[in-house]
Amino acid sequence: MSGEGKKPPMDTDGHRYGKGGEEEKPQMDTDEHRLGEGGGATTRFLGRGDLEKLVAELLGAGTRVVAPVDAGKGETEYRVVGQFTDAKLGAALPRRSLKEFFLPPTEELFRWRRDGAGLELQEAPASFPATVILGAFPCDAAAVQTLDKVMGWDYRDDPWFGRREATTIVALACNGQDGSCFCTAVGLGPDAARGSDLLLTAVRDGYEVQVLTAKGAALVGRHAARFAEACDEDPARNVRREACTRVSSNLQATPEKIRGWLQANFEHPIWKGIALRCHGCGACAAVCPTCHCFDIVDEPEGLAEGARRRNWDTCQTPVFTLHASGHNPRADQNARIRQRLNHKFRIYQERFGELLCTGCGRCARACPGGMDLPELLGALEKLAVSAPVPVPASAPVPAPAGGAFIPPPGGAR
């Protein structure tokens, strides 16, 4: 797929809200065959007991099941579970996103071994365990699909797609976490179907199941006894609508305007004071479902052998852009935050037609310095709406004026 391929408008990405409340079938991404286009109604019901049985069946069949589990202090993490009761569905948003199940923090690409003059390469295995991710949050599922673009762009990333193909994502519509959620402001929603194979919505005694993809349908088909015909869709619809309303009140933004503003204002004075509180720690990138930068290193393990590994990296550290000469084109944290915002809300959009952000709010929750992406987006939105005239790039940039450019605290949302 080429970078400047078709640019689908934002609202075709599987998000149905904000369009006058029309209740339509989820719009499907054109990259992957989806059910629903001309297919029949694809809603099922999964009772609570059946879900537990489903998990037991999956585990029994040797399928790896990943779900949010309790990680202490009221937090959860996506982890491989050994039994249904380990899973903690519908609770707190896991600390880190789903991306590590497709792009592990470190991954061996191949090993080498030197024997005399010869060099023997041992490729990483190309097969991946069949996996079901249960109770994925829609923002995390959406992110995986967003990353398909970059992973399959000029080069098809085999480990990524190998894991993608081996994995079925069963998302659970979210109720909205807290004031840092802003999925609705980036064209998604707590019930976004994007990236999921099945989307569950918790109703009184079970889950409404939307079957979204062939993979999802296959899962349902393999365990048909667990799934009942859906009778009434209204309760689930109401649950989803309420969650959307709740999250929408956190932040109203128009990503397209922000993108335009970013494009015109690379040298805007706001950047000079954007990151005073930022420690450059990269926790935001570590928890982000869409940050996907990686580094490739050759690590010798003795004279004769070693491994080439791919490791997570982040634009938030100085060494990310450090030249061998000692020069660093992104000299400080302000420049790095500008880069991050640009990549998420302009560059990726320009190249792949999508925002590199699913509004999960993890970066704001993880930041030890109180950097707050929804707050920054709100400020950029204001600038984009009120100052459409771009500041010329040649305009003198005032000396750092500190807090003046930090948006005033907005209070608890």
Binding site: R64, T106, E107, E108, R113, P125, P129, E301, G302, A307
Partner: protein, 154 residues
């Protein structure tokens, strides 16, 4: 890392410990020379890296040696007050004291490491350090638990 490539098992299946030693030039290296000059036999399991002073011996060396397949490590230098550089061994002593308790806390058995003072005249003591460490590590078995922590991701 695959175990096969770092296995210290011989073909016969008996475990021969591999031990990396870091020693100072003036006392222990010379003491080991003396052991040689005195033809004191000892286990052939130890490989020595010569440093000017125990003060130069970084704990990174020890971790790297374990990474690279060492089942045990010996760190040895001049007795207190005998340091060729006055106080290098005193600085090292503090460093190793903390390091040892730290790795112990992290679950790495500090008995994998022998710290000793061996003077230039203690060839016999050096041979005992080598033999005792070899036998101790032989009992403890290969240190694959640490080496093997760099496994593949599914």
């Amino acid at each position: 890392m695959s175990e096969a490539t770092t296995s210290t098992e011989t073909t016969a299946g008996t475990f021969e410990p591999r031990i990396q030693a870091f020693v100072c030039n003036w006392c222990t290296y010379t003491g080991a020379d003396l052991a040689g000059t005195s033809r004191i036999p000892m286990a052939p399991n130890v490989r020595i890296i010569r440093l000017p002073c125990t003060g130069r011996i970084d704990t990174l060396f020890i971790l790297k040696a374990f990474e690279r397949g060492a089942d045990g490590v010996i760190v040895s230098g001049c007795h207190p007050n005998d340091c060729h550089y006055a106080a290098g061994n005193f600085h090292a002593r503090r460093r190793f004291a903390v390091f040892r308790e730290l790795i112990d806390f992290l679950g790495l058995d500090p008995d994998r490491i022998t710290f000793s003072w061996v003077s230039a005249s203690e060839g016999k003591k050096w041979s005992e350090i080598v033999n005792d460490t070899t036998e101790r590590i032989r009992r403890m078995g290969p240190f694959s638990a640490y080496r093997g922590l760099a496994g593949r991701t599914p």
